[in-house]
């Protein structure tokens, strides 16, 4: 029971960190929230490792901490440090902040509903983290869709990816270590590439709004 409670509270903390991203406009706030989210994620991963007793998961937790909580924020900071404040803040998203917070809460509800529909084994790790991971996935997707800045899309992608990682860890106790490392490398390289692209977008268009990126189309 107490164990179960620890799981639930960690899931709650993870959701709170996610909402910090949804409810903020400034990129620094997102980055901090993402960092907290990753730290909580690493803690949860370590928790799952200690419950299941699989040592590979400890390594995955360590990698999460190293790559997602330290390296990726550093990379994004380096790129965005040069940008002006106006470029870094989400001024007018397609859906207002308050509506997105409410919609995200609905998405959490939706993911609980969805995961209850699937008949999946009911151990406490799965039943606690599966819905949370799906909601991270959905919220990440949502953030990517409704925000205009390239930066927010990247942050949405990172949330989404955290959701996937939690999903894999909770459901199957992680894919095998080789794959996990491969995925981490992919994320890292992807972030580096997106950082380069973002600085180019900013250099070329003098803004980070993806609205500039709508010239290629078939009329």
């Amino acid at each position: 029971m107490a164990d179960n409670n620890v799981l639930q509270i960690s899931a709650a903390v993870l959701l709170i960190a996610t909402f910090a991203v949804v409810s903020r406009r400034g990129f620094m706030d997102w980055l901090n929230a993402y960092r907290y989210q990753s730290i909580v994620l690493a803690a949860i991963t370590a928790l799952i490792a200690s419950i299941t007793g699989i040592w590979e998961i400890y390594i995955a937790a360590g990698l999460t901490l190293l790559i997602k909580a330290i390296i990726i924020p550093k990379i994004l900071l380096r790129i965005t440090g040069k940008l002006t404040l106006e470029v870094r803040t989400e001024i007018s998203p397609y859906i207002s902040i308050r509506a997105s917070v409410l919609i995200s809460a609905m998405l959490v509800a939706l993911s609980y509903f969805l995961t209850q529909q699937i008949s999946i084994k009911t151990d406490s790790i799965v039943s606690t983290f599966l819905p949370v991971s799906v909601s991270l996935f959905l919220i990440g997707l949502f953030v990517m869709v409704v925000r205009k800045k390239a930066l927010s899309q990247v942050v949405g992608l990172l949330i989404l990816e955290n959701g996937l990682f939690l999903f894999a860890t909770a459901l199957t106790h992680g894919l095998s270590l080789v794959i996990e490392i491969g995925i981490f490398v992919d994320i890292l390289v992807g972030i580096i590439i997106s950082a380069i692209l973002m600085s180019r977008i900013n250099y070329t268009f003098d803004s980070l709004s993806v609205e500039n990126l709508e010239s290629l189309r078939d009329d």
């Binding site: 509270i9 409810s23 902040i97 509506a99 409410l102 606690t128």
Partner: protein, 314 residues
Amino acid sequence: MTLDLISVAIGIIQTLVLVVLAPLLTGIMRKTKARTQKRIGSSILQPYYDMIKLMKKDEVVSESSSWIFRASPWINFVSVVAAACFVPVMIFYSPFGLAGDLLVVIGLFGLGRFFTLLAGLDVASSFGGLGSSREMMVSALIEPALFITVFALSLTLGGTNLSTMVESATHSTVLAPSIIFAAISLFIIILAETGRLPFDNPATHLELTMMHEATILEYSGKGLALVEWSQSIKQIVLFGLFVNLFVPFGISTAESFAILGIGLMFFVAKTAFLSIFIAFIETKVAKWRLFRVPDLISMAVASSIIGVIFFYLK
């Protein structure tokens, strides 16, 4: 929990504690804010001095006002004191709890606020009207958040009766996630209800953006003293509710004087800590634009919804 003499006495003491300590809390918050802003600030007893001074002064009442303006401070005061009766302070129950629950407390606050708003409109000054309309907007927006929060709380703690709720909060050894989310949501609601930053700046009489202060701008003398007092009682009641629901640690469970005394000390310490915490937050944030206020409230709503979800998860 029969309605015997001792418990009635305890209930009356609890209410008195709230009513008497209320201005002290305001004083503590002002002092904290002053110190965090590198000012020395006035004594924490200053609200008492202010009230005594105001009591001695004459009242100036606008000629264009009606009875509402004069009656409103009294109605306000009575309703918040009545609300204070239902709130457990140092022991986990309130003997008057048989007569009312959390919803009654909310209703009584609503009554008081309603008359304050009417009074603000009654004097026909432009500031009063502005303040009233803004406060109405915030209170209308806060309503859904409040009700979902109450819903989450009553689900988790077994009912809306405050005594039952505090009791089950005392007895549960583990911290449920739904409680965490409800706490976040209730915290935001308390900030809005007591008119703290970033919703409203309680320390101003000058800004065009003020809300609560604008509605009571026309009061003076005894009326003002009453209004200020009831505002601080409302504040301590909400703080007390918050600490006793979410941090029931140290509340006494037996009816002996020693334990009650310890319970009282814990209560004072916890509320004081909460108010210092809020004062710190107030130093850190600026007042938000009125149209950004819904952002914060939507966070409260979201948080309470997730609280409810977490309850059903178990």
